[in-house]
Amino acid sequence: MSRKTAPIAGAWSVACATLGAVSSAYADTAADPSGQTWSSMTVLVLATFVGLGVIGRVSRLLHTPLMSLTNAISAISVVGSILIAGSDFPPMIRALGAVALFASMTNIVSGFLITERMIKMFKERGEKK
């Protein structure tokens, strides 16, 4: 992680901790026995640090493909959409899930395909057409 991003990551962790503390003050412990709040917050803070570290090293050449790749990755929301569209819920709710699923799937397909297409274009000198 670079000098630029470290303070941001620090501030972010503090913000997450505060948010966790505030929302767990509301949640009564009976409704949240597993401590979901805190374990999710921990995962979030750690993942942010990993993300800042890894992405800070990405070559500037590849910033456009990086954006389309992370776009496809964040379309992992398919996971949630499948659960909502496929479970035994009222049709109105499942319909919302199905539309969300469609939107995420579009991002997955177009995101990965266009990233692949762009990355293949980057060639070194001597690497002939």
Partner: protein, 464 residues
């Protein structure tokens, strides 16, 4: 099941890790696809998923729309990216809405403070990313009914802030009393406010700020996915969202730095306001024009040529002609380097992708900070449709709107040729001092045609 999710997390991180160099990046997509496939199969096979028809239909729909979206011309990549942020926001917003109504119907006990906070954040960010990104995509694509120029009206920031504050108040009221008597109105109101806020946030923003705005929207889309992870208690979603958010954040920081501006200044600054006064200043100066033949002659003598591409190259689709010029010059033994400003074009890395498409090797692309110290050795700097990023006023004129912005110091090259469509100033509305310097010459015309003729002239001279 959980092990599939864990594997997916590892693969996603590896995919991003491999993006550090073009060669290893070829593995990135495979890793990402594998992770996604694992996650989908693991989720679909869960016992609570009992209805399959809609899932299949939605997946097919996604493929049908997604494939053509991945085949767009590379000059249209910025608007495609904005559009995909919009889809991401839509998915987050809809899942938040669905979960809210589901839990309401199952009884208020399900709506804990934590879940409700996550739902409010998810819905707010999701829907504002949806409309904000649609506006951005519309502006980038040049859709006729969306104003290209920044739209600025009195009390704009006050209106936006008031609207946002209202959305927060509604959100907080929902968190305190998730199924209170007014929640039937409050939740739809929250959605409406988020949608409206997204539109209002983007209309005052102009073209050259798009790289920053796209990055910020990217971060929002990531954060809304994180919130969705909290709502669904899915660590996989939290991690993937955080990776996306971190990426958007880093790109936004890079873009802001490259323009010497802050986040708040981009979002609330209204770049347009400063310009009117600035443009009124220095008039009555004359451009020196050069003929194609003359420019070709100078280039033949040059040992080191630096090419600075800007948005104008993308507009004119000139990248393939630029590659021909590059081939012609390198064949003569001239060293040719490309210098790309971080905010050139309409999204981060835009110019690099266009040059890669034209098969220009990335070893000859140099970063601004690496080239600037050696600028004195450059015989010819060829500016193709770039403007503010080479304006020496950013270094020399205190009080000019772009003062302090890092620039490519083309003004220190021995000769400067600038290809420009017309005589109007660039996005920031500031006259470019560079064009009036002693060593600068203009080549007016469409970038594609001018470069084509330049290459032809070089070939003719070589034959003679």
């Amino acid at each position: 099941m959980e092990i599939a999710y864990l594997a997916a997390i590892v693969l996603f991180i590896l995919a991003l890790y491999w993006m550090n160099a073009p060669k290893s990046a070829r593995r990135s997509v495979s890793a990402g696809v594998a992770a996604m496939a694992l996650a989908i199969v693991a989720t679909w096979s869960r016992p609570e998923v009992v209805h399959h028809l809609w899932i299949i239909l939605a997946l097919i729909g996604g493929v049908v729309v997604g494939v053509p979206l991945s085949r767009v011309a590379l000059t249209a990549v910025p608007q495609r990216t904005a559009l995909s942020h919009a889809f991401g926001g839509l998915a987050a917003g809809l899942v938040g809405t669905a979960k809210y109504y589901m839990w309401v119907s199952e009884g208020a006990a399900e709506l804990t403070g934590f879940r409700m906070t996550a739902i409010v954040v998810e819905t707010l960010l999701g829907f504002l990313t949806l409309t904000g990104s649609l506006m951005a995509a519309g502006k980038l694509h040049g859709v006729s009914w969306i104003p290209q120029r920044p739209v600025i009206y009195p009390l704009q920031n006050m209106t936006n802030l008031a609207l946002f504050a209202l959305a927060v108040v509604v959100g907080v009221s929902l968190i305190i009393a998730p199924a209170g008597p007014w929640s039937g109105v409050a939740f739809p109101l929250l959605i409406a406010l988020s949608l409206a806020f997204g539109v209002l946030l983007i209309i005052p923003i102009g073209g050259a700020d798009m790289p920053t705005v796209i990055s910020i929207l990217n971060a929002y889309a990531g954060l809304s996915a994180v919130a969705m992870g909290f709502v669904l208690d899915s660590r996989l979603l939290v991690v993937a969202g955080a990776l996306d958010g971190a990426s958007g954040l880093i790109l936004s920081i890079i873009m802001c730095r490259a323009m010497n501006r802050s986040f708040t200044n981009v979002l609330f600054g209204g770049f347009g306001q400063v310009q009117e006064t600035a443009a009124a200043g220095a008039e009555d100066r004359h451009y020196k024009e050069e003929t194609i033949e003359g420019a070709a002659q100078t280039m033949e003598m040059a040992r080191l040529v630096v090419i600075v591409p800007g948005y104008g190259m993308a507009v004119a689709h000139a990248q393939h002609r630029v590659a021909e010029l590059y081939d012609q010059l390198t064949a003569r033994g001239t060293t040719v380097k490309f210098v790309i400003h971080p905010v050139a074009g309409r999204m981060p890395g835009h110019m690099n992708v266009l040059l890669a498409e034209a098969e220009i090797p990335y070893d000859d692309i140099v970063e601004m900070d690496d080239m600037n110290p050696d600028m004195e050795q450059v015989d010819v700097a060829l500016i193709i449709g770039a403007n503010d990023v080479v304006n020496p006023a950013a270094r020399e004129k205190k009080g000019c709107p772009i003062y302090g912005m890092p620039i490519i110091e083309a003004h220190r090259a021995k000769t400067v040729f600038a290809i420009k469509r017309g005589k109007s100033p660039g996005f920031a509305g500031i006259e470019n001092d560079l064009y009036f310097r002693d060593q600068s010459f203009m080549l007016f015309g469409d970038a594609k045609d001018v470069i084509g003729e330049l290459t032809k002239q070089l070939a003719v001279d070589e034959a003679a």
